[in-house]
């Protein structure tokens, strides 16, 4: 356990000093701030626009951080051969993989916390400067705590994406890992269509194949509760808990897969 924590700590230290996530967080904060200006252009919808844009910025830039650092975690180490010296230490390959994963998960949590704080700061500013009469028209209060639930689900989704990136990076190049991960992310958001494929094409083998792909790919749609939160629609706690449990199971399977591949791998 201590070895995993040591690897995670090194990943975190290395990641926070990399300029790429810094610039992504900075850009996301800029967009969140700019969304205030955009919201001013839309009479009556300003708070919804602000929340929608803010959460979208957190999700998109978080995704970029997860994919681009996640794929580098293992494949770059193998490509640049820094893995040789590390694996010669009293550290198993599975501890190495788990340490890498938790290090990036920690980086993600910190980066997303910074973005969320910036988001709440903008919301607070709007709340303080808006007339009470206008506030009455908002579907939910500006500093709605349910926004945190939306962010928690974004974090869970990104941790799942990181596990996908890590899995691919145990056996493919950084570029291929990035493409595969983004591909799975896109498919994961639209795979409900695969489930009902027979409604589109009435060919049984194709429909069965589509159903199999549906069960194999992660279903990422439930992680997006942004529309409900922005419009003040209640999200049942059981739905959130189930989604988090789904993420935990999927992440565990992916990490076990990544470990299985990595343990057998030859480093030429």
């Amino acid at each position: 356990m201590r070895s995993i924590a040591l690897v995670a700590q090194a990943v975190f230290k290395e990641s926070v000093r990399d300029r790429v996530p810094y610039s992504m967080v900075a850009f996301a904060v800029l967009i969140i701030a700019a969304s205030y200006l955009i919201s001013q252009l839309t009479a009556g919808q300003d708070m919804k626009i602000l929340k929608d844009l803010g959460l979208a910025a957190i999700a998109v830039f978080g995704l970029l951080i997860a994919v681009f650092i996640g794929i580098n975690l293992v494949s770059k180490e193998v490509e640049r051969r820094s893995v040789f010296a590390v694996l010669a230490k009293p550290l198993s390959r599975s501890q190495f993989i788990l340490g890498k994963y938790f290090g990036l998960a920690l980086t993600l949590v910190v980066n997303l916390s910074v973005m969320t704080l910036a988001f709440y700061a903008v919301l607070l500013y709007v709340d303080l400067t808006t007339d009470a009469l206008l506030k009455a028209a908002w579907p939910a209060p500006a500093l709605d705590p349910r926004l945190v639930i939306a962010v928690v689900l974004i974090v869970a989704e990104l941790m799942l994406v990181t596990a996908i990136a890590l899995f691919f990076s145990t056996f493919s190049s950084p570029l291929l890992s990035a493409l595969l991960t983004l591909g799975v992310w896109v498919a994961g958001h639209f795979n409900a269509d695969l489930r009902n494929f027979e409604a589109v094409l009435d060919v049984r083998p194709v429909a069965l194949l589509a159903r199999a792909v549906y069960y194999l790919l992660p279903n990422l749609a439930p992680f997006n509760i942004r529309a409900e939160v922005v419009h003040g629609v209640p999200v049942p706690a059981s739905q959130v808990a189930l989604t988090l449990a789904y993420a935990a199971v999927y992440i565990t399977i992916l990490l076990l897969g990544a470990i299985a591949v990595f343990r057998r791998r030859d480093f030429k």
Binding site: L6, Q9, E14, A85, R264
Partner: protein, 316 residues
């Protein structure tokens, strides 16, 4: 007990995209290295040296055969705790400093707090990394990275250390420094297994060597056994050698080569008496600068062994 033992250790790689076929990078290597030995693992590029080291570090899995370090199977945690490894052309994390990297590795070895800090500082001093230790590794030159690589290999005061081309990227001062470190390791009883292209280093440091060519062991043994140290001739450096004197001695020497500033190198066959020759040169007005015996070097032996292996392979 042998520090390192391999028996019929072999490794095949699959080559080719459409129809992959096995390519044998290492073929039934059987070796034994005693405790406290400095063992040179020599061979041309592509001979299988790095493959062997990676098999011993369990970065590769063997196709056949076995390998043991300190009597235990490779990859065993207790073995890793007592071994150090410097990979060829090492690379570390760009954004960490040398101190942070070594502190991370020291903690993986189980060192903590002040002990870890003391050990990191001492090993960085040993390899000659001074105040630069607080710079990020991306700012380091190749030679400095090589020193950091050596430092991390020595962090746990290993009983066995594996060094893959330890002199690579080092300037002459750096090479001399590494040679001194290796001799200090030997003096404290550490087994040093190192691969190198630089035969003079192997000759100066090793008690035993093994020569690998095309994945096969072509020679191994003590330097005193491998090299007969037989006299092959004499090398003379002279000045003020007139044209007449050159013409007179030419039939009895192997070669005369002009050097700078009117000096010449003369190679005499072993059967020629150097005393008589020196006397004759003196009588012809030449001045002797130096006289050295020519003996077989490790380089000669290496060229012979590898050449013979390559000839067998090509059937010539």
């Amino acid at each position: 007990m042998a520090a390192i033992e391999t028996e019929d250790l072999s490794k095949d790689f699959l080559v080719g995209f459409w129809r992959p076929r096995p390519y044998r990078a290492l073929d039934r290597l059987t070796l034994s290295v005693g405790e406290g030995e400095v063992f040179g693992f020599l061979g041309p590029n592509g001979a299988g040296k790095s493959t062997t080291l990676k098999l011993l570090m369990q970065l590769l899995y063997p196709t056949g055969g076995t390998a043991r370090i300190l009597g235990r199977p490779v990859g065993d945690r207790s073995v890793k705790q007592r071994t150090g490894f410097l990979p060829e052309n090492p690379y570390f994390y760009d954004h960490l400093t040398a101190e942070e990297l070594l502190s991370y590795f020291a903690r993986l070895f189980g060192l903590r707090g002040a002990d870890a800090r003391r050990r990191v500082s001492s090993v960085l001093d040993d390899v000659g990394i001074g105040s630069e230790r607080r710079l990020r590794l991306r700012q380091y030159s190749k030679g400095m990275i090589q020193r950091v690589g050596l430092a991390q290999a020595l962090l746990n005061e290993p009983d066995v250390v594996f060094l893959d081309e330890p002199m690579s990227g080092l300037d002459p001062l750096g090479r001399r420094h590494v040679r001194q470190i290796m001799l200090r390791l030997r003096d404290r009883g550490c087994t040093v297994f190192f691969s190198s292209h630089i035969l003079s280093d192997a000759e100066a440091l090793c008690s035993r060597v093994a020569i690998l060519a095309q994945g096969r062991l072509v020679a191994s043994g003590h330097l005193s056994e491998i090299l007969a140290f037989e006299l092959r001739g004499w090398e003379l450096v002279v000045s003020h050698l007139s044209d007449e004197a050159r013409a007179a001695i030419a039939p009895r020497v192997r070669s005369i080569t002009a050097l700078a500033r009117g000096r010449f190198t003369i190679e005499l066959p072993a059967e020629e008496s150097p005393d008589r020759f020196l006397h004759e040169l003196g009588s012809r007005g030449a001045q002797v600068v130096s006289l050295n015996p020519l003996r077989e070097t490790l380089e000669d032996y290496f060229v012979q062994s590898v050449g013979a292996a390559e000839s067998r392979q090509t059937g010539l």
